[in-house]
Amino acid sequence: MALNRKIAYIDLDKDEIKVEPIPREWRRKFLGGRGLDAYLLYKHTPRGCDPLGPDNVAIISAGLLVGTLASASARTHVMAKSPLTNLTGSANMGGFFAPEMRWAGFDHLVIRGRAKRPVYLYVHDGEIEIRDAAKLWGVGIYDTQDIIRKELGDEETQILCIGPAGENLVRFANVMTGRKNAAGRTGMGAVLGSKNLKAVACRGTMDIELKYPLEALEYNKEVIDQVISTKVSQIMQRWGTGFIYSVTNTTGLVRTRNFQYNQLPHSEDIECENLDKYSIGLDGCFGCQVHCRHRYVIKEGPYAGTYAQGPEYTSQGAFGAEVGCRSMNTVLVGNHLVNDYGLDTLEVGSMIGWAMELYEKGILTDKDTNGLKLEWGNDEAVLEMVRQMTFREGLGDILAEGPLRAAAKIGPESLPYLIHVKGMSNLHSDERPTPSLALNIAVASRGADHLRGRPAIDLYNLPMKVYEKVYRSPDGYEGPLTNSYSEYEGKPRMVLWQEMVYMAVDCLGVCKYHTVFLSPNHPAFKEFTQLIRLNTGLEFSEMDLWNIANRCYTIERLFNLREGMVRQDDWLPDRYFDEPTKLGLPVARGKSIDREKFKAMLDEYYRLHEWDEEGIPTRELLERLEISDLWPAQN
């Protein structure tokens, strides 16, 4: 059964592996994936532990529906205390690793301690081995996977690994599988690096039994047809997520030159249509018909002939607008480098953009950069900084520490230029014209981030009845909603609703492009109840799933509070309030966030969450969610 997968507790200090079943009670309360990971992280880490010390746990998991007939059920989730924010660390990725881990018999690996020398784990048909990884240390993401497959003599092996950045404890190093699937955010690669854990390899041939296989097959077809019938899916099937850039840049929603502008004019070269010159076809994660990324070959410069995948919308920002570059070749090379080194592309772009503004302002000088001209649009300098961060050379060594630690080293005058929340940089979106999106990044449980609660469909200004249908279910919310993205009213509910639906898909291991993220017509709670029932036999109502998502999100909140987060951390950098946008369409030009209105939004958001005015979940909420034993924290 999809429910008989195991959880393995791996202690790298003692070379010990304990395998246990996953209690049915945990399925009822947390489903699996990110939700159960959040609970495990809370229980298995002592308060205040060093994120890069042996007491932190790295949890690698496959969601409840991974490998079943739920379309795009391919996501691997990685969780630990974040070395970037010292709070919730959490990132997930597509590819083929998670289904392979399930065919190999496991849903969750909980890894603590630190191996004496570099190791990797080999998970196969119910067994786990700790193997020597000495010869893999220092090797890039692509070659690491290649070498492990050859060593194991099995090309079908799926591998998750870190690159040199993770080994060098770059605080925004990621965990990768395949050519481009990245559990990118919050520095999970550094946590694996601190444990001397280079990789996890999986190979499985065990059945995942489905409760109602033929009905699940038919229902999967229905869901796939529903997803690929929407315009946004069809655009992504053709162009990938890069299409978003053309839309948001034209409007004026792209963070440019760190945060100086909200649009990069004359950047046609990095628009998605131009990818066709380099693309050799599209690429799909396991079971997905949206196949939202390209396979491409670099054509110019020292990396000519290199095969890579992507680039996503995020890399167009990181190696384009944020650093003022206008070359598709730079985007393609930068994207390749972060993927092979194992770095979070979002954090990389933000750190370099920030450094460039400091250089422009004279806060960083040629002395700090070793003569490197960190000027806007200097393509070579941007790519050189990626290398320096990975190998911790020169200024790169400072930037590798992430926003707040780097600012502490450079000096307090650098702080106002940082575009971060809770110590994690934002992606290259400019939320000054969009209060709902601004609230989302201010409150997200892992720091500035769009994938925790972004109500992206708010940007479409759809008819009210569409928003009513989405955002009033399943709990019958009766408060305000508005359908203009310039408004403040009704937006806290949208953010909260998205937090719940994203938590639900992260528990299930389903991709966000298969839920209400970029389209209001994609599956949500109602479809999830069916997918779970047909594939696993577990019966949940829509409200059950809502409550589970709420429980899991609340645990992430409790973890953050336990680790020292306060209300002031749910806030935006001053520039959002003080510097109006300069460019873009009228709807996006001259906009800034109103402090008072934003404060009112935050209060409303807390109230809707049943958190008190300091952002602490109320006792009634914790009791209703059956997690009152977690707070006040005992560990």
Partner: protein, 161 residues
């Protein structure tokens, strides 16, 4: 009924392996690609993907290698089928198949292969890209020729004919 055949177009394949999964669910009621009759062979370092499955050969090595004639041709679908009542499980066909399309299921103690899902191949049904397709033989050639001719036509158009 017009005759049909399975065709593969690696240029269209995105490597998602949904074909493998739906195949194992349809035939075995479980999700398990190691039981699938189709497998996407991948060269991950080059980004080249090729779905492999039974070719339903006209002069089929599996049929020739079977000592008890358990393999036979289903004339209606023009496919190679297994008669499990006769099969002795010797696995000679597994060795003989030049495409690796014949598998062995240790749990059932049986060989397995593509049966075209009795005329409605699920791999084809679920492949939105039509990297695997099930097409009428009489029309297949013309459509492939048209596709191939596109390049030439494009060239001619460019040069103003």
């Amino acid at each position: 009924m017009p005759k049909k055949m399975m065709i593969v177009d690696p240029e269209r394949c995105t490597g998602c392996r949904l074909c493998e999964q739906v195949c194992s669910v349809k035939h075995n009621g479980v999700s398990n690609p190691s039981l699938a009759r189709i497998h996407v062979v991948k060269w991950d370092n080059e980004g080249f993907y090729l779905p492999m499955r039974c070719q339903h050969c006209r002069d089929a090595p599996c049929m020739r290698s079977c000592p008890v004639n358990a393999l036979y041709r289903d004339e209606e679908l023009d496919s190679v089928r297994i008669n499990h009542d006769i099969c002795i499980g010797c696995k000679m066909c597994v060795s003989a198949c030049p495409f690796g399309a014949m598998g062995w299921n240790p749990k059932q103690g049986r060989v397995f292969k593509c049966d075209l899902c009795h005329g409605d191949p699920q791999c084809v049904r679920f492949c939105d890209m039509k990297a695997v397709d099930y097409v009428e033989t009489s029309k297949m050639q013309a459509s492939r020729m048209r596709e191939a001719a596109e390049n030439y036509a494009e060239l001619m158009r460019k040069h103003g004919r």
